[in-house]
């Protein structure tokens, strides 16, 4: 009966095309959202992997229970630099001093969407310890990965923050809170990958403090333990000696990041589920209309010998074809929109994700058509034959 279902669709071309377009546009959004989540998740996992084994501890101001515990990086934290340096001195014999530094964080640009990383994050750190925050030394696209001095007015930009500042070249000056800084390095990377490093605006600690007029303050202390098996003991020592600070081990940071990621996933999934429901409702409405319009045809089919099952199959088949065509069309639409936006998602869209979206949309279309199709099977042929 696929030919009959196809002819029903073909005869009502305008409605069919609009329905397919409606489904396609809705599912294009699902493709974009799913890909962003997958991409962000893989970026974060690679970031976590980068840190694993680094044996790092963050010391920050005390966490307000329940809220700031999920904050990473700790941009709302404020510590006295003196206290931070004292902590470093106390554990100096157990840590890698080349990768241990006070840090200064400041939000330069908010996240582009809820729970996303900040678009631009000022990170002040000791000039000779840049690698401590960004993990292993990143690939530098242009310039150097170093500052010329402890108070140099120089900046190294991540790919996302570079985009925020209008893609400056090495040697260009950019304004940060009214202060001119010279770009000395640009970190290579894709805009959505390297979640923790793509948005960084790295400046020497003293410069950051001076720009923000907080020469005695820092946000946190980053400590890199010499021995991996010593991290928890080290964290406990700091907690015991400094009751007014919070100490986050690598494991706790990973948990925090996972929580953030979970929230992000939930946010996007909510949108995805809503979009799926919208697509299903579109199919439902169209099929209800189709069944209502075709009461006489369905009644005739029943009268001349079509079983209830065959009528149900024809209606559901029509919905399946609408869902299938709409979901397949959503793929090129997603590609075109991505080309327009320039996110580069088309290079990383996972074929299995697309297959899942097409299958889900097709199944949902079939389910959405079930109620109108069941209604069609209850059409009384005698009543339908009287129907004018």
């Amino acid at each position: 009966m696929i030919d009959i279902a196809w002819k029903n669709m073909w005869t009502r071309k305008t409605r069919t095309i609009l329905t397919i377009l409606g489904i396609a546009v809705a599912l294009e959004l699902v493709i974009m959202m799913t890909t962003i989540v997958d991409f962000t998740e893989s970026g974060m996992q690679s970031e976590l992997a980068k840190y694993s084994g680094a044996g790092q501890i963050y010391v920050r101001s005390q966490i307000t229970a329940g809220i700031a515990g999920q904050e990473f990086p700790p941009i709302t934290s404020i510590l006295k630099e003196e206290e931070g340096r004292q902590i470093i001195d106390e554990v100096a014999d157990q840590v890698d001093m080349a990768l241990t530094t006070p840090l200064f964080f400041y939000q330069l640009a908010p996240p582009p969407y809820p729970n996303a990383p900040l678009e631009a994050l000022l990170v002040g750190l000791e000039a000779d310890k840049i690698g401590a925050y960004v993990g292993e030394e990143p690939v530098v696209k242009d310039g150097v990965f170093a500052f010329s001095g402890a108070d140099a007015h120089e900046v190294i930009l991540g790919p996302l923050s570079s985009s925020f500042f209008g893609e400056p070249a090495v040697g260009d000056e950019i304004q940060i809170i009214g202060e001119p800084l010279t770009v000395v390095g640009l970190i290579e990377g894709q805009s959505l990958e390297d979640r923790l490093t793509s948005n960084v605006v790295l400046v020497p600690l003293e410069t950051a403090q001076s720009i923000l007029g907080q020469s005695e303050s820092i946000s946190a202390v980053l400590i890199t333990s010499l021995r991996l098996d010593n991290i928890n003991a080290l964290a406990e020592d700091i907690r015991a000696d400094h009751s007014k600070v919070s100490v986050l081990t690598q494991e706790e940071i990973a948990e925090n990041l996972d929580t953030i990621l979970g929230q992000e996933r939930m946010f996007f999934n909510m949108i995805n589920y809503t979009v799926y429901i919208i697509a299903a409702v579109v199919v439902f409405i169209v099929m209800v209309m189709a069944v209502t319009e075709r009461t006489k045809e369905i009644g005739t089919m029943r009268a001349i010998g079509a079983s209830r099952w065959l009528v149900l199959r024809t209606i559901v088949l029509e919905a399946i074809m609408l869902g299938l065509m709409g979901s397949l069309l959503s793929i090129p639409i997603a590609y075109l929109i991505d080309m327009g936006i320039g996110y580069g998602l088309r290079e990383v869209i996972d074929a299995w994700t697309l297959i899942q979206i097409v299958i889900t949309a097709t199944i949902l279309s079939a389910l959405a058509a079930t109620i109108p199709a069941l209604r069609a099977t209850r059409v009384n042929p005698i009543e339908a034959l009287r129907y004018e």
Binding site: K7, T11, G305, R308, L385
Partner: protein
């Protein structure tokens, strides 16, 4: 046994809100192979209700309907649908063709429902359309055909599967007099070839083509 359909004491009562409206009040009728009956009578006398019961489209409130000796008044929807699809051809006043299918596809659809598939269904559909002299119009959609042509497609649909019984409900009700005469002749010719036909009509001229005219009044056979 030459009997194709037999009804014994059938009644049909419709319930409209709280009121019971009797449509048939005890009908007995036997139709044999090769018969051509015309059922006539005023509007509301129960002609179409009787036709629906004979065509296994409905069940009686009381009494029994036998099709080929089998009591069909106790069968479920699936079994009745199978009988309709294989053994009964239906012709309607408003033609009831599928608007999205051309003449040949409309006829072939009935054959597919009867279990005849593929090239054989197409060949039989073409033969049926040839019989009603519509070979030249088989690729036309119903909207591209005149009323008389549409009814001939509907007749081709009804006869294509070579049913044991053809039921026609006011087959000329929507046609002008010339087309009505043609359809009447066509049905008479089919009967002459051995086709069993029961037709409900208002038109005395069309009814005159039948071997026997049954007059109904107030849900009963008057004569």
């Amino acid at each position: 046994m030459n009997e194709i359909i037999r009804v014994e004491g059938i009644t049909k009562v419709y319930r409209m809100d709280e009121v019971e409206v009797p449509a048939l009040r005890g009908i007995d009728l036997t139709v044999e192979h090769g018969d051509f009956f015309a059922i006539v009578g005023p509007s509301g006398c129960g002609k179409s209700t009787l036709l629906h019961l004979l065509g296994c489209l409905d069940k009686p409130s009381d009494g029994r309907v036998f099709f080929n000796g089998q009591d069909v008044s106790i069968l479920g929807d699936g079994a009745l649908t199978r009988i309709r699809s294989r053994h009964i051809g239906l012709i309607f006043q408003t033609f009831n063709l599928m608007p999205t299918l051309n003449a040949r596809e409309n006829v072939a659809l009935q054959l597919r429902l009867a279990g005849i598939k593929g090239a054989r269904a197409v060949r039989m559909a073409e033969e049926a359309l040839e019989k009603v002299e519509l070979s030249a119009r088989m690729k036309h959609l119903p909207k591209q055909l005149s009323g008389g042509e549409r009814q001939r497609v509907a007749i081709a649909r009804a006869i294509a599967k070579k049913p044991q019984l053809i039921l026609a409900d006011e087959p000329t009700g929507n046609l002008d007099s010339k087309q009505s005469i043609n359809i009447g002749r066509l049905l008479a010719n089919l009967n002459a070839e051995g086709q069993t036909i029961i037709m409900v009509t208002h038109d005395a001229e069309i009814a005159a083509n039948a071997q026997r005219v049954i007059k109904m009044r107030d849900g009963q056979i008057a004569e």
